[in-house]
Symmetry: C2
């Protein structure tokens, strides 16, 4: 038979071996648990949306994947008008506008789903065409307290602390501060979005490239502006600048947010005000966030977001101010793996393997496996006739923590051998004490 | 500003309000927990695969969604050669063939992901174009014990029992039995796949339609064959048939599987041998499964699958026999919701709302929320300045179980009011006993 080569599409190639998938799932579980702990409700939206919904904000067309049918088909709206979402913010805006009357505001939602972007994939940089985003947003109706801007980083702090990925820093800045700075540099309001997009690249692009970009936008003191941003100054750097109203408002807001962040439990070592945080997106209006690994600055921002004044202006007249942040999990995972920062998952589906040494006793093996499962212990029974050595080899490959072994001798003494696969030590245990014994060995809580 | 109407694409429209999403997630959690309890490892594969991989088995082209770019783009392999998966079995076959040397066999994996099919959407029948499948498979290399065919339904039994969705029945049949029956009806081997596809429709299509189909395939005693299948006979019905080798082998296999199913813990009331189970797919070779809700037969099969002899013959020469089953969760959820069979989730992200009655005490409200979160209690703090009544209305709408209320009077007495939002009863509690008190009220285990 003519074979098809089993392989993946470039950029759609983040697929893990079982052990990696367990590590990935452990990160998802941490993210989900911390999001829920802070009262965020889960949301999932369809992968494909109307093209006009996705492109409503403009600027995203060139990265969007549209749907089509492989064979011709009549009456397929998705193929005629649909495309895959490129982020989780546009679907959130569409969802909130659609369900405005059914939602309670402030609406707090989290969303952990894949998005698709036709960027040039670069595995080394962790850039893929299909990847997970993990978003939280707090959406108010007509108004939203700046307290929300302080709570968001406290959620992120608890996530990364529990992930145990080394020292990290939530770097914050404020768009009003940046507007005030642009004002003092006499950048006209309509040039501000483009100027901010250039400044946002200061960590990735050469100084000369950015300066040329700034000058093209008509910034006269491009050098001074660049140097101010690239110096990554703190609150004190703002105080030394020529003052104006936007700057004063921004500074006041930043101070309030920082004070509240501390109350929400973010320690000073885990965050910093940083003028170098700019964010490319036009629609941020207040606090903006980026998060970096202190020991691995090359990884770039692992979690970014900010405050915006109107989420869904393209869909509804209701003003929906909000604040949100997003973890690019596929990229973060690739980077943590490359940097050796992934932990072994605390509990894997592969805890206990019941070996089947002697087919004569199959019923007893099944009964043991069943009793362990009923007690909440993740248990597999080796189903194939095979030598014990082969069964134990399988246990090692799959990463079981314990193997149970019993044959004529053991059943004659009414015991089962419990073999710890890490230490290779074996001890005997009576069948009726097995559940308690294994729970102790595996450090499981009673359920 | 010109608004875009926020709406969804036909068939890509299964999106839930927060309470429904919580119910959906609760089902996913049950499925995942039971799959892991039986030693299945998690797997996720990319949404898009090479078209040649997806179409390798043939027959699926007409339902497949391909990818294209909304704007023109160079060098995009996914747009040129990619399409969305229509099931989780083909990606599994591709994955196992690709990673054969890195996997331990028997390879047990579970996969809970979305698939996309260009079928005509019918919300009433629970048929959508984007939906979740939840699959488990056990894949052997070169051989696989029939015990695996008995273990699979035991996993499914534990899933549906925990879902608490009323009486259900795992109906099994055996493809060797069906082959034996076709043989006794003198159906030539090459006609068998088409004849089985017709018989598979006996619950959905008119008798006359099926009979016409069978006759077109050259079945002489079409009436007798139809009646035999439609009568849904048990093992005893097979014994009354003219015997042949395939039938005898199939019957023996079915008896073994049934005996082992009982040992794996499936009670007799939860399963039945049923000649009416046929399954349309050609590649099944042993036990086949369908699962129905006894009180809601109109819902159709909520979980189907079977034993196959070679998973990945299109990708590798290694023979990979396996057995698998799939829950169509999006459809099941729609049906359970329509039938009123969904439970309230036991624990929601919205457990405790800390109200903020008096802005003067904001720091204390933040401190309370923080201490509850640190103790593992899902807690939200009301961040907006608003009257207490409005805050409690929000708590009711979002479905919180408890609201904490405190102002000048309470803080003066060093207590907090704990209001049970279901019973409306309120009691006072000292701040330092709050965690223990709330854990008791919410019936949370210590973590």
């Amino acid at each position: 038979m003519q074979k098809v080569k089993p392989s993946l599409l470039r950029g759609f190639d983040q697929e893990y071996l079982p052990r990696e998938q367990l590590q990935f799932d452990a990160l998802v579980a941490i993210i989900r648990r911390n999001f829920e702990r802070c009262g965020f409700l889960p949301l999932e939206t369809p992968s494909a949306e109307r093209r006009e919904v996705l492109t409503s904000k403009g600027g995203a067309e060139k990265e969007i994947y549209a749907l089509t049918r492989l064979a011709e088909a009549d009456d397929d709206e998705a193929a005629a008008k649909g495309a895959l979402r490129f982020d989780l913010t546009v679907p959130l805006a569409r969802y909130v506008a659609m369900h405005e009357r059914e939602l309670a505001f402030p609406f707090r939602r989290y969303q952990i789903q894949r998005v698709w972007r036709g960027e040039t994939p670069q595995a080394r940089k962790g850039r893929f065409r299909e990847f997970y985003q993990c978003d939280i947003d707090i959406i108010g109706r007509e108004r939203l307290s700046t307290l929300a801007e302080a709570e968001i980083p406290s959620v992120i702090y608890s996530v990364f602390r529990e992930m145990d990925i080394g020292e990290f820093r939530i770097r914050i800045n404020n768009r009003k501060v940046l507007r005030g700075i642009l004002e003092s540099f006499r950048v006209p309001g309509d040039k501000a979005p483009e100027v901010l997009r250039w400044l946002d690249k200061h960590e990735k692009e050469e100084r000369a490239t950015i300066l040329a970009g700034l000058r093209k936008e008509g910034v006269e003191a491009a050098d001074a502006l660049y140097d101010l941003i690239a110096a990554k100054g703190g609150l004190d750097a703002i105080a030394r600048l020529p003052q104006n109203e936007a700057l004063a408002t921004g500074l006041e807001e930043a101070k309030q947010v920082i004070e509240a962040m501390r109350k929400f439990g973010v320690p000073d070592a885990a965050f910093a005000f940083d003028l170098g945080v700019v964010r490319g997106l036009d629609y941020y209006t207040g606090t903006i966030y980026e998060t970096t690994l202190v020991q691995h600055p090359d990884v770039g921002s692992i979690c970014s977001g900010g405050r915006y004044d109107d989420l869904a202006s393209y869909f509804t007249d209701t003003r929906l101010p909000g604040v949100g942040i997003s973890i690019g999990l596929t990229r973060l995972f690739a980077k943590l793996r490359d940097a050796g920062l992934l932990r072994e998952p605390a509990r894997t589906p592969a805890e206990v393997l019941v070996t089947a040494m002697d087919p004569k006793h199959l019923d007893r093996y099944i009964a043991i496996a069943r009793s362990l499962r009923e007690a909440g212990i993740n248990t597999e029974l080796y189903l194939e006739p095979a030598k014990l050595g082969k069964q134990l080899e399988y246990a090692d490959r799959k990463g079981f923590r314990v193997a149970l072994i019993a044959g004529e001798t053991e059943f004659g003494k009414n015991v089962v051998q419990v073999k710890n696969l890490a230490t290779k030590a074996a001890e005997e245990c009576a069948p009726d004490r097995l559940v308690a014994h294994l729970k102790a060995v595996l450090q499981l809580k009673d359920s």
